[in-house]
């Protein structure tokens, strides 16, 4: 049975930053989870890696800049995000300029990562 208290949570972000409101919702969940002092990590998977694009400018969309919100992750003690290596390569993403520090994982490593958490929250 569940022991109430600290759980480890992996949030899996699969949506592009401005294609739907789910990217924002998943980041809000990550920040809230961290704010309540739960142990939380992020994995950007598939199209979700586009959230890590450098120099995002959402001004003309009339919505908040997603990259800027990602850059605030270290304030919540989330210092490193995991990234789907294949998707990052597919989109030719320059992760050295990503808004948050990243660590790329191949599919096998991603699987090993996922099994290590109490909860997976997939968006």
């Amino acid at each position: 049975m569940a022991q109430a208290g600290k759980k480890t949570v992996l949030i899996v972000l699969r949506h592009s930053p401005y294609g739907s409101s789910l990217a924002k919702a998943s980041l809000d969940v990550a920040l809230a989870t961290a704010a309540f002092e739960q142990s939380v990590d992020l994995l950007f998977l598939g199209d979700g890696v586009l959230q890590l694009l450098p120099e995002q400018d959402s001004h003309s969309l009339g919505i908040k800049n997603f990259g800027r919100q990602l850059a605030s992750l270290p304030l919540y003690d989330i210092n490193c995000a995991y990234v789907d290596a294949e998707a990052a390569a597919r989109y030719n993403l320059d992760l050295t300029k990503a808004p948050v520090e990243t660590r790329v994982l191949d599919p096998k490593k991603m699987h090993q990562l996922m099994v290590g958490y109490d909860h997976l929250l997939g968006f």
Binding site: M1, A2, V9, L22, A25, D28, V29, Q38, L121
Partner: protein, 130 residues
Amino acid sequence: MIYSLLVLSSPISGQCSRSAADFAQCAIARGHSIHRVFFLDAGTMASSVNGVFPQDESDPVRPWVRLAEQHGVDLVICISSALKHGMLDQVEANRHERPGPTINSIFTISGLGQLVDACAHSDRLITFGG
């Protein structure tokens, strides 16, 4: 086992919301418990009292109402998503000067802390939709 559910999709787009309610009923029937159902993003629209459905389609709010009435399951909609989708209780309608409530009173409006709490108190958190 203690379950909590996270519902992300609108009840009028696909089967996710309905499947989540069915899952909850089945889990309870098998002796498990549902700590909470948390509705986020378009999932919050499951609480709407304003939807009008053709006679040969079922009202997507009804399975949730049944779940809460039969088993006392805690149904919580995320406040920031709810406000954006026009899902208001009487308090929020008053606060934001809207004509009146738009959600079934069986749902509670609250913050993301309720999802974090659900994680902390559940063996499994199952996501529907997204």
